[in-house]
């Protein structure tokens, strides 16, 4: 539904929250194997997907991410035994909540990528990047960021300019 918004200048910002044991190692492998994937992905490393608080995902969108990728060890492979099992439930719930709030879930991708799956990492990162690129910028949170209550609205052009410069 967003595909028609062709914008060649638009480079989506993708934030990837990954666990250090599997996906980070997988992404590393992709790098050492010289596999190509879009440079849009900014990787943030966590000890475990269990440490990835849904608030971080929200925060990424608020701070200007156009898409968020969350990735960790396959079920059963968690370095801490069950971190990803717990994370899975939390992400399922959070996804439902975001959807209910009205966030297009096409901007949020979860995946299991093991340390050996450099190829899968490339595939997941590329797919999300291209999907988000086609959707265009995540405007919802960014617009909220600049909105004021009527009583606190600012009227000077200088300030408005300074204000709009804030990401």
């Amino acid at each position: 539904m967003h595909a028609h918004k062709e914008n060649h200048a638009f480079e989506p910002k993708i934030v990837a929250f990954v666990c250090t044991w599997c996906t980070y190692a997988g992404a590393d492998l992709a790098g050492t194997a010289r596999l190509q994937y879009p440079a849009n992905t900014r990787v943030v490393k966590f000890p475990c997907t269990g440490r990835i608080d849904p608030v971080f995902i929200l925060r990424a969108f608020q701070k200007g991410a156009d898409g968020v990728l969350v990735s960790g060890c396959h079920p059963g492979d968690c370095h801490y035994m069950a971190g990803n099992f717990h994370a899975r439930r939390r992400f399922a719930a959070f996804r439902a909540l975001l959807d209910f709030i009205g966030v297009d879930l096409n901007r949020l991708q979860f995946s299991w990528v093991s340390a050996a799956e450099g190829g899968k990492w490339v595939e997941v990162a590329t797919e999300l990047t291209e999907r988000v690129r086609a959707m265009g910028p995540m405007r919802e949170f960014r617009e909220l960021e600049t909105e004021e209550q009527w009583s606190g609205a600012i009227d000077t052009p200088e300030l408005q300019a300074a204000y709009e410069a804030i990401p």
Binding site: V55, A82, R89, A92, A96, L97, I101, D104, W112
Partner: protein, 309 residues
Amino acid sequence: MTNTAQTIDPALYAAVTDAIRAEAKKVLEAGAAAAVVGWQAGRRQGTAMPAIITDPAKVAELIFSPACVNNLALYLSKAKKEIRARGRIAIVVKGCDLKALVGLMGENQLKREDLHVIGVVCAGVQRAGAAKDIPLSEETIAGKCRECTVHTPEGADVTVGTLPDLPHFTPVESEELSRLEAMTPAQRWSFWKEHFARCIRCYACRQVCPFCYCEQCLCDRNRPQAVETTPRPAGNMAWHIVRAMHLAGRCAGCAECERVCPMDIPLNLLNRKMAKELKELYGHEAGFEVKEKGPLAQYREDDDQSFIK
């Protein structure tokens, strides 16, 4: 349970009032409880407020009426330490309130043996802002009560009242939930955006929630800051998302957050949605049985992961 009249017989409330007073007198006199947490009438006609009664001579102040909206489980949460410090507490609960109490027990916030639970059969309470008319009607009954499934609390030390025949009410909350679910994400976004823009960040929703007992709310923290504290649309949106997420799988559905919102934000819609999802996904439902772990504090190896690549 059929009732052709569209109102609720007020006799129930009078009977329950008498029974609460008798029970309160009994436990206070016997020393079985240091205080009774119940409701008392407010100054204004047709209003009520929480009451903490320690003197058996004052039990006549206790009442039960459609104005007894407060979920008193709040006063047993960690946020209200002073009250529990008095000793064993007798607490008056409606069915929905008892679910919250049970939830707190599941989270090891309360021990059943430290409480004397006086369950009251409840036919419904007033909607926020409704006229204080008696009897309760389609016009004045709270949304949550229209589709209540817990009129009669179970597992209380004593349960008082007999449920009268109830009229059929339109389940406005479920209908509203379905209406939202049928919308496109963009429509839902503008729905919530408009509601949240009104939020003034008074945190009444948090402060009355029995489950918001954290000594340090994530949203009050500033190192790092997860949610902006100013009442602007951006921070408001984040706050309500975080609130709903932190209550997912814990909320007992008392809808106090929505009742107290001075800006009429339909917060219980979020809670209902999360409850519905967690029931569908993991079969969890808030009830009268103490569960050791909530749905987001446990897992099954075969949980759905169709959304994960």
